[in-house]
């Protein structure tokens, strides 16, 4: 019996070994190595030198750019998620209507999400030029000129990136919300009608609670992604302008454009990881308060 179990177990290991090996080599070992490097000075050339908590001390208390970068991603995440989800909700209601050619509209709104971020950044880089189309349009109504990502003001740069990401991501969120809307049973809505609920009451008491699992999913994944944002800020950064750096840009710079401060990069990576983890746990705890699952 024992031999048979052992024999089966051996074959089991053989079958799962491709996955186990890739998990070990491509995920677990790099992760453990990154944890080790967070406590070292390492430049990719000399062997790592153990420095204890020195990197974390530098990140949390000595580097003047770390806290502004965290402020930037929080502002980015909150603004982006709030505006994007509001717009996506309105869009989902519109796309749920029985208009002619509604499928075409659904495709049109989803297309920006399929556009590579490099292309999107180039388009917005042109729109945001000091003599670009946006400033020209604003000048007709007496506004501007705005400096967008050229601005020395971190908030103006962040807003520029927020609008670019909303353009790109609103279609994606609206598709989830549309699916959520279409998943609401017509019987429940009819029951609300029979009970004499108004449109607002129906939305607040029936539609919103039933949509809350979808919204919760979008918020939790949206914040986790936004707090780790890199490409839009990196690609849209105006040369020489460091007004709005985000953590991943600093990590990138420490690894590639400076003398290989891998220790700082790893330490900051874990600081951001724990920040996202804690925020996700808080969201998960708050889930019980406002997310309703249909029984």
């Amino acid at each position: 019996m024992c031999t048979l179990v052992r024999k089966h177990a051996r074959w089991g290991w053989v079958f799962v070994s491709p996955y186990v090996l890739s998990l070990l080599c491509l995920t677990l070992i790099p992760l453990l190595f990154a944890i080790y490097l967070a406590f070292c000075r390492y430049d990719m050339f000399y062997p790592p030198i153990w420095t204890g908590l020195k990197n974390f001390k530098y990140i949390l208390f000595e580097n003047e750019d770390v806290w502004p970068s965290l402020r930037t991603i929080w502002a980015f995440a909150i603004l982006q998620e709030a505006i994007k989800l509001s717009l996506a909700s309105v869009l989902a209601v519109f796309l749920n209507s029985k208009l002619k050619c509604i499928s075409a509209f659904r495709i049109i709104y989803f297309i920006p999400n399929l556009t590579p971020v490099v292309v999107t950044s180039m388009i917005f880089g042109m729109l945001y030029r000091p003599d670009g189309i946006l400033n020209n349009l604003f000048s007709y109504i007496g506004l501007g000129p705005f400096q967008y990502h050229y601005s020395p003001n971190w908030f103006e740069v962040t807003l520029s990136v927020v609008f670019m990401c909303i353009w790109s991501g609103v279609g994606y969120s609206s598709m989830f919300l549309l699916a959520g809307l279409q998943g609401i049973s017509t019987e429940i809505l009819e029951a609300a009608d029979v009970d004499g609920a108004t449109g607002v009451q129906k939305f607040l008491r029936v539609v919103f609670p039933l949509m809350s699992p979808t919204l919760f999913f979008l918020i939790i994944t949206g914040f986790a992604g936004s707090l780790q944002v890199f490409e839009p800020f990196f690609l849209l950064r105006a040369e020489g302008n460091s007004a709005a750096m985000v953590p991943n840009q600093m990590i990138y710079d420490w690894v590639w454009t400076s003398e290989g401060k891998i220790g700082y990069a790893a330490a900051f990576g874990f600081v951001v990881f724990f920040m996202v983890l804690i925020f996700t746990i808080i969201q998960k705890v708050a889930e019980k308060k406002w997310v309703h699952y249909e029984q």
Binding site: L32, F33, M44, F45, P130, Y150, E239, G240, W256
Partner: protein, 444 residues
């Protein structure tokens, strides 16, 4: 099974750690590669950032034909990507045997012993008198020579002849000064419709090190670092004066703002210069190709040497991007790499470099003389770019942590030139940050 997994994990960790270690910290002795057999077959990997847009393919092909025993593998990557690629290749101990790099990063690799000290080989095989002083531009404070120049990307003043004629101004002379240049630029600035935004600016300031703050700091008698290149000099009055003088043209309205320049096609000063919106620019030689390709047939411009500074001296700044040889290569690979560099410095290859001038001028005097005497050269006074290198040449104060401290200064310089910060107020902070970057490398 748990025990087995633990052992496997521990083994993997040790393996991962050992794979990521490099050589011991130490500075290479000058090697003479006496064990190199010139007739033995060897494969030589050449790292070529920018490929044939930076290094003429003709040079690679000619070398390939002249050395049949050396099999070439050319590793090409975009300029910006190459450094990142090289960094990982060095960590894996598998870089190209000879590679080109910017002078700052080459100094960094020299400080880590990643590239060979070529002093002995140059002294043995190269007649230094045939070359400008740039041949030894990669020499550090201890006398090691970490590479040989790919080209000299030097600076000079370019001016629009038609705008000078219209303003009735004489063209710049060899011994003109920065003060005279500013006076000319003021006279060349034209705001004919009186809207406060000139149609023609006399000059255009830049904030980068080579075309921006370094020439002004030097012309004000300042130095960025001390002789050991371990101590910041950004707290000296001369450096402060340099930054203030860099901003002066913008402050006084005879240079456009950076915002104006960013809004122009291409986002640089080159196209506005070609279109006659800027009369004078301080430009690196690598810009000449773009100017000549974009200029109209009737656009006439010429070059003048960098003016004499406020301290009475002239400084001719140049960027000597370097060829370095990987110190971890075998003796045979290093020997083949040195053969390549000897060929690169030969008259034939230097003439090819001079023919294309892709990223600057060659360093061989005879080639430079031919370029200067070429009646068809555009700009005609092309010698202004290299005539003073021997006497007044100055590189970018490269040291092993150059990219680190230069990155710090670049951010502040941009803020000063954009008018967001006042030089006098932030220079103590610049000094502190630069010294911090130097200390991180030297005293950590």
């Amino acid at each position: 099974m748990k025990k087995f997994l633990c052992i496997l994990l521990a083994f993997s960790m040790v393996f991962a750690l050992s794979a990521c270690t490099g050589g011991e910290r130490g500075i290479g002795e000058a090697e003479l590669l006496e064990g190199y057999d010139p007739n033995a077959a060897v494969t030589l990997k050449i790292g070529s950032p920018g490929g044939d847009t930076i290094t003429p393919q003709e040079i690679i092909d000619n070398f390939d034909a002249a050395f049949p025993n050396i099999t070439l593998e050319v590793d090409v990557a975009a300029w910006g990507e190459f450094q990142r690629k090289l960094k990982t290749q060095l960590a894996a101990k598998d870089p190209s045997h000879v590679f080109m790099n910017d002078s700052g990063y080459n100094a960094s690799l020299g400080g880590k012993g990643a590239v060979m000290n070529l002093k002995g080989l140059i002294d043995r095989d190269i007649n230094a008198e045939d070359y400008t002083a740039a041949l030894f531009a990669a020499t550090d404070a201890e006398g090691h020579v970490w590479g040989v120049p790919h080209a000299m990307n030097s600076i000079a003043i370019l001016y629009n002849k038609k705008l000078f004629d219209e303003a009735g101004l004489a063209y710049p002379t060899e011994d003109w000064t920065f003060e005279e240049m500013n006076e000319m630029a003021k006279k060349l600035t034209k705001d004919e419709n009186g809207d406060g935004e000139p149609e023609v600016y006399g000059y255009a300031s830049s904030y980068n090190i080579t075309e921006g703050y370094l020439p002004y700091v030097l012309a004000s008698g300042g130095r960025l670092l001390d002789e050991t290149r371990k101590i910041s000099q950004f707290n000296t009055p001369e450096v402060l004066k340099g930054f203030e003088r860099l901003y002066q043209p913008i402050e006084e309205g005879f240079s456009p703002t950076q915002q104006w320049i960013s809004a122009q096609p291409g986002g640089t000063r080159i196209l506005p210069f070609v279109k006659g919106q800027i009369a004078i620019i301080l430009a690196q030689s690598s810009n000449i190709r773009a100017i000549n390709e974009n200029k109209a047939d009737d656009f006439e411009y010429d070059a003048a040497p960098i003016p004499i500074g406020w301290d009475g001296n002239r400084y001719s700044v140049y960027v000597p991007n370097m060829w370095g040889i990987y110190s971890g290569a075998t003796e045979q690979e290093k020997g083949a790499a040195w053969e390549f560099l000897k060929y690169y410095l030969s008259e034939e290859a230097q003439d090819i470099t001079g023919k294309y001038c892709l990223s600057g001028y060659p360093i061989r005097k005879s080639t430079l003389s031919n370029i200067e005497n070429n009646e068809e050269a555009v700009p005609r006074n092309v010698g202004a770019y290299f005539r003073y290198i021997d006497e007044f040449g100055e590189t970018l104060f490269e040291n092993p942590c150059w990219s680190e401290w230069n990155g710090v200064v670049a951010g502040y310089a941009a803020e000063i030139v954009r008018g967001e910060k006042v030089a006098a107020e932030i220079m103590p902070e610049v000094h502190e940050k630069v010294q911090e970057a130097l200390d991180y490398y030297y005293n950590y």
